[in-house]
Symmetry: C2
Subunit: 258 residues, 2 copies
Amino acid sequence: MTSGSDPNRPMILGGPTVILVEPQLGENIGAVARAMLNCGLTDLRLVRPRDGWPNPRAVASAAGADQVLDQAQLFPNVDYAVADLQRVYATTARNRGMTQHIFNPRAAAAEMREQWNAGLKIGLLFGPERTGLINDQLSLADALIAVPLNPAFASLNLAQAVLLICYEWFVTTPEAPPERLLRTGQSQPATKADLLNLFEHLERELDACRFFSTPDKRPSMVRNIRNAFERMSLTEQEVRTFHGIVAGLAGRRKGNGA
Amino acid sequence: MTSGSDPNRPMILGGPTVILVEPQLGENIGAVARAMLNCGLTDLRLVRPRDGWPNPRAVASAAGADQVLDQAQLFPNVDYAVADLQRVYATTARNRGMTQHIFNPRAAAAEMREQWNAGLKIGLLFGPERTGLINDQLSLADALIAVPLNPAFASLNLAQAVLLICYEWFVTTPEAPPERLLRTGQSQPATKADLLNLFEHLERELDACRFFSTPDKRPSMVRNIRNAFERMSLTEQEVRTFHGIVAGLAGRRKGNGA
């Protein structure tokens, strides 16, 4: 997918701290930074990254999310990395048989947003690529997050897990775009008067070419045609285009048939 | 994140067709297959993949989602690839100035689920890695999907875009796990009688050691302690553990103080 980045548009920033525990591959750390900044998160903490820090491979895979890597903090263990946080969510793919609250990313995002609005410092804990967090680390968390996936094939890499959870966080930002809208380019949505005008133009020409074979069927046929046009949510410009289409077709028929 | 795959658990399958238009890297095609199967999607179509098909690099990055690659169909152009579909959603990161409905992945998933339940064949159209879909291809779609991201840094790779949209689809499956639950391991959640019994045991011992310095403060202190325990959502096993803790602490004190 093409990048939709625009450095002239406002950076939407702020959100939980992401803590990677013993990440193995620099590429994955960079991909995590990229996933985070996509969703406005910038605070990254690393606990004992296997290949040391800084790591040029992380920069290569961050795709420009350098500010996240530059500010990343290094910690010798998880206890220190979560010390100043007030709520911690740990991610896990497995049922470890422990008693903990478990959220899907959406429910976790809703709860984190409330905590964020109340001024709490929140952390998201991710384990090493292959093994995940160990039970003692899960026990540091207020609750767990598990991504709902096909139970017979649940296989996310580290950055994808970070992305899905951070995406759910971003959706809760007040600045996130609406769920659905009609994008209308340069033109405004047509008014009902514009539309009625078009309908009457079309129906006048349809009468003229004897499109309505039986008069008693005309009202229902008119309604069906109007319904189809209503579903188009036409713009002002498109209404003008359809006026032209009707006039053009009718003119051709008249010209040819004269 | 660790794989949570379990081949003994039921495969949840079914959903929209994913159509990749002129994908460049085999690695990305494999990563798309992996993202799809995570979310139960298996129908993949490829329009003129740059490096031909089949592609061993796709297999390497599919992480076991071979069934998606094995069934993938090849098409010479987008028109043929969408010919049998009844609803098509095209993904885009840019505002192209055309008039089209645009959904975020969540709203699109809700609409697709309704269409799926009504028996419609649905497709998701993704463009080439660098350029995305061209306007003529977007015009084949009933509506567009745009992932809401940080406007100043919106940078998803192809498989991540597929994953986010397919994830939202999967969340709408009836089989998806609940948004939140208390995972209790082997033990059942405690009953209120279990809890009251624990509270009374604790308060009896607190009375014995003169924990409540002033009698008039006892009721509110008891309520506060009970509230803290209620927030724990204890299991039966944990209630037994706390009985042991209270008995153990009190016994030690009695022994020492005798």
